[in-house]
């Protein structure tokens, strides 16, 4: 049952990677920290006094403290039950803008 030769799903089937279905508290804290850093970038550009369409679009995004936990840690998925999946299932999710979701989902 224990030890190096115990029969686990990893041992029995060779290559097996498992993605947890939800984020751990640490990963959620890291995600919030990243959101705050992006907010700081948008704020710095706004503070420069420059006006451009990209800034108008960026200011439309909800800030980290305005976001629902649901939107911070999950995202819309048309194929999942409940139309939601963990945001960490999205490839490159730490470097993408995934703040808004379809209304009603």
């Amino acid at each position: 049952m224990f030890g190096a030769f115990r029969s686990t799903s990893v041992n029995l089937s060779g290559l097996l990677w498992k993605t947890p279905w939800k984020l751990s508290p640490t990963r959620k804290a890291n995600a919030r920290a990243r959101l705050k850093k992006v907010d700081a970038v948008i704020e710095a550009v706004r503070a420069s006094g420059i006006q451009c369409a990209a800034l108008d679009r960026a200011l439309q995004l909800p800030k980290e403290h305005e976001m629902d936990p649901r939107d911070k840690y999950t995202t819309f998925s048309p194929t999942s039950r409940g139309y939601r999946k963990g945001i960490h299932k999205v490839p490159k999710w730490t470097r993408l803008t995934l703040r808004t979701n379809p209304k009603g989902f």
Binding site: R34, K37, V38, A40, V41, I42, A44, V45, A47, S48, G49, I50, Q51, C52, A53, A54, L55, R57, A58, K92, T94, R95, L96, T97
Partner: protein, 103 residues
């Protein structure tokens, strides 16, 4: 009037914190056009709508500060500021000090 304009932030100080690998050519090319080609590299650009748009295109990858013009550094100056001191100062040389040595 002139002094206040010197201390007012007029440039973006942009540091690349995360790479654009596998994020697509558009974002990679945006970084190239900002003059960023390695992580933790810092560049300075004057405030302009074009630069602001580029920064916002790659806002997840960079750290941005607004700095006045006297804080702008070229890459060579940044490297010189990072360099450790040599620990000694050259006071002078005895080369050519004796009367029979040619000048």
């Amino acid at each position: 009037m002139v002094a206040s304009s010197l201390f007012r932030p007029s440039h973006f100080k942009i540091t690349l914190r995360r790479s654009a690998i596998a994020l697509g050519e558009k974002k990679k090319e945006t970084l190239v056009s900002l003059g960023l080609h390695r992580r933790m590299q810092t560049v300075y650009h004057p405030h302009s709508p074009e630069t602001a748009g580029k920064i916002l295109k790659v806002k997840e990858l960079v750290h941005v500060e607004n700095v006045p013009v006297h804080a702008v550094r070229t890459q060579t100056e940044q490297r010189a500021e990072r360099k450790a001191s040599r620990g000694y100062q050259v006071d002078g040389s005895r080369m050519g000090a004796l009367s029979w040595e040619s000048r």
